[in-house]
């Protein structure tokens, strides 16, 4: 037995982050630190209209106040050294000033980086029927399928482009779901956001392909502040995939993104995430700090569905939420969060029921291995106006080994007596009996664990688009390497 755990330890040490590499692209970097000047510089570099600069500035001033008053939120079950916000670059862009029109114009080294990430842009995009808006550091460098989408009136472009080409839409919806003052990190993002994706699906249009963005954090010590906005007009449909990997870094990297989803009457948005950022080494050094605000707002009879598989980052602080404002609207949250080694995840969701006959479903699964700590924090709020609302919540924890932990913190607030709520929770361990059974059939210990874990995660995986589900399975496997076997 002793021997066994020793060999586990050494395997842990051997573990290397598969996607750890750095690309040497000349980056144009704004000096470290945060000030009104820096906010102005970012806005200017992006040739933004005045109203947007004003918005950033308001956000910055509010953040300053908040920072002085109470600083970072401390309620989450995560621990990390204090972040020095003056020691971060707030803007970095690949050196070419003009955005490339086609792949030929994309920096070959950058393309190579995408290869290593396993995203051969052209083939993958075309074979899989996926349009890729690849965010490399802060600026979008390549966009495919744009033309085809254009014919349907679908807009899928970088956030900066949208600011230039569709300012009315941006002005109307930016901050409409997550106000700049929402929380410390969203606030910071609103002041200095770099780039991200913008999607608009016109009324009645069903987006024929899965839209996809790969994010990557590249320049050393560059905090990345993405801003994504998806607007699905009446009776439209879109499925969006977000996948992430980041290279190895010595000091921790801050990532504070904001994602806003707007589903107008009768519209449906499906948002899937694979998050695989560098989790830090086995001693808990390095790794990405991921503080993300994701929220959607539903109109009448509309639906927003979040599906996420979170295996990366040193710290994950993330609560994709749905405001069920319209009558008969539906919110869903399906999540698998895995923590290994010293990873900490405090994640969950909020479902705010405002409209009548609103329904929400939460399936949150946490897998803890090594010294990983997993907290599920979920809030279901039924407001007085939300006649006949329903919520179903299921929280499952799976523990691998005996040094990890899982905590479930459901907050329920019901202000309308007609609401129906159901809550199920379970904690399980991968049992020796199950492992022995699978190994007796010829699977090695790692394969056996993997099979049990993917089976256990199935309710969430089946919500993912097919190729993504396969990748998600692979991701769990890679993330658990060395933790078992």
């Amino acid at each position: 037995m002793e021997n066994n755990s020793l060999s586990r330890e050494s395997k842990l040490e051997d573990k290397e982050y598969k996607w750890g590499f750095t690309t040497d692209v000349d980056t144009e970097v704004v000096p470290k630190g945060l000030s009104e000047e820096v906010v102005k510089l970012i806005s200017k570099k992006k040739k933004e209209p005045n109203w947007l600069f004003d918005w950033r500035l308001k956000a910055y001033k509010h953040w300053l106040k908040q920072d002085e008053k109470e600083g970072e939120p401390e309620w989450a079950m995560v621990e990390y050294p204090k972040i020095d916000y003056q020691d971060i670059h707030y803007y970095a862009a690949p050196n070419k000033s003009d955005a490339p029109k086609s792949l030929d114009e994309v920096d070959p080294e950058m393309l190579e980086a995408f290869e290593k990430l396993g995203i051969p842009l052209e083939e993958r995009a075309q074979l899989a029927g996926v349009a890729v808006d690849a965010v490399f550091d802060s600026v979008s460098v390549a966009t495919t399928y744009e033309k085809q989408l254009k014919e349907l009136g679908i807009i899928f472009c970088s956030f900066s482009e949208a600011v230039q080409n569709h300012p009315d839409l941006i002005k109307k919806y930016l901050g409409s779901v997550v106000p700049y003052s929402d929380n410390y990190f969203a606030n910071l993002n609103s002041a200095v956001f770099s780039d991200g994706s913008f999607i608009y699906i016109p009324e009645g249009v069903r987006c024929p392909i899965e839209l996809m963005t790969y994010f990557r954090i590249n320049t050393a010590d560059t905090g990345q502040f993405e801003r994504t906005l998806i607007v699905a007009d009446k009776n439209s449909y879109v499925s969006y995939l977000e996948g992430c990997t980041a290279p190895i870094r010595k000091s921790s990297q801050l990532h504070a993104a904001v994602v806003e989803l707007v589903a107008l009457d009768g519209a449906e948005i499906k948002y899937s995430t694979l998050q695989n950022w560098y989790p830090g080494n086995k001693d808990g050094e390095g790794g990405v700090y991921n503080f993300v605000t994701k929220r959607g707002k539903c109109g009448n009879k509309s639906k927003i569905s979040w599906t996420q598989v979170e295996t990366g980052s040193a710290i994950t602080w993330k609560y994709p939420s749905v405001i069920l404002q319209g009558d008969d609207s539906i919110g869903e949250f399906y999540s698998v969060a895995l923590t290994n080694n010293h990873q900490q995840a405090d994640t969950g969701t909020k479902m705010i029921h405002i409209g009548k006959n609103t329904k929400s479903t939460i399936v949150a699964k946490g897998i803890s291995a090594g010294k990983g700590n997993n907290t599920y924090r979920g809030q279901v709020k039924i407001l007085p106006s939300a006649e006949n609302s329903q919520n179903f919540t299921q929280c499952d924890s799976l523990l691998i080994g005996d040094q990890c932990g899982a905590i479930t913190l459901p907050y329920i607030e019901v202000k309308n007596p007609t609401a129906k709520l159901e809550h199920e929770a379970s904690t399980s361990k991968v049992s020796d009996e199950q492992l022995f059974y699978l190994m007796q059939r010829g699977l090695d210990e790692e394969e056996a664990h993997h099979m049990i874990i993917t089976g256990w995660s199935k309710e969430v995986f089946k919500e993912l688009p097919f190729e993504f589900a396969v990748e998600a399975g692979q991701l769990l496997k890679v993330s658990l390497e060395g933790a078992v076997g």
């Binding site: 022995f436 007796q440 059939r441 049990i452």
Partner: protein, 250 residues
């Protein structure tokens, strides 16, 4: 006669409690032979089968176990399986979210890979899979669920036999596969064992009942009491047990 399994003076205990279960057990199984083990509850039958398969909640304290003249004791569970040892569990585990098809395909793949054989295509595999489902008389709908989840006791046992058919082991260990089966299911288990018997493949069948053995007609019968084989013989031993119980052996 070539030996498949050779157990000499085996002593084994429960790892956690150090309770001694097997107290110097000897057993030799030749190629193509079918052996039955009978004995009172708690005598160590399941322990023996699990020790052969390599379950680490049991510890081998002394003695030898050889499989094709190779020492088994230090070998990993999955390696033993890939080399041809199959155990039909007395209480098979339930694995939520894993479809039987996926599980058995992975098992067959990993065994074939280990043996340097070509991986079966999905089509080739499915053909064999469907045929074997019919042979065992598995309920098709059941096989669309999670592995063993919501299966009745009898259905779990049938599923074990189905897996045995799929994996074509060299040595099959059946631990009370007949317990809890109705007459039809019992017959189909017996039929599968009989159809799989050949000059190369051996069986070790743990049972309490004459019924299954009437069907299978084992070559050898052993009586296991208090961690030791106290008597070995042919099929006639079954009759003796049926008439006098185990008391006459103590």
């Amino acid at each position: 006669m070539d030996k498949i399994l050779e157990i000499k003076n085996l002593k084994a205990s429960v790892t956690e409690t150090e309770e001694k279960i097997l107290n110097g057990l000897n057993l030799s199984i030749g190629k193509g032979e079918t052996h039955a083990i009978m004995g009172p509850n708690g005598g160590g039958k399941s322990t023996l089968v699990n020790v052969i398969a390599g379950k680490d909640s049991y510890s081998v304290d002394s003695g030898e176990i050889e499989f094709f003249s190779e020492d088994l004791i230090e070998m990993e569970v999955d390696e033993r399986a890939k080399k041809g040892i199959f155990m039909a569990f007395q209480y098979p585990s339930e694995i939520p979210g894993v479809r039987p098809w996926q599980f058995i395909k992975a098992s067959v793949d990993s065994k074939r890979k280990f043996l340097g054989e070509k991986e079966l295509s999905v089509r080739e595999f499915s053909k064999i899979y469907d045929e074997n489902i019919k042979i065992v008389g598995m309920n098709q709908d059941l096989m669309k669920r999670s592995l063993n989840e919501g299966f009745s006791g009898g259905e779990k046992k049938r599923n074990e036999v189905f897996q045995m058919l799929m994996l074509e082991p060299q040595l099959a260990l059946l631990d009370e596969t007949d317990s809890g089966l109705d007459v039809d299911a019992l017959k189909s288990v017996g039929d599968v064992v009989n159809r799989m018997r050949n000059n190369e493949r051996s069986f070790l069948i743990v049972t309490h009942y004459q019924r299954l053995l009437d069907h299978i007609k084992p070559d050898f019968v052993h009586v296991l009491i208090k961690g030791k084989i106290v008597e070995s013989g042919g099929y006639e031993l079954v009759k003796k047990i049926e008439e006098n119980g185990y008391e006459s052996f103590v």
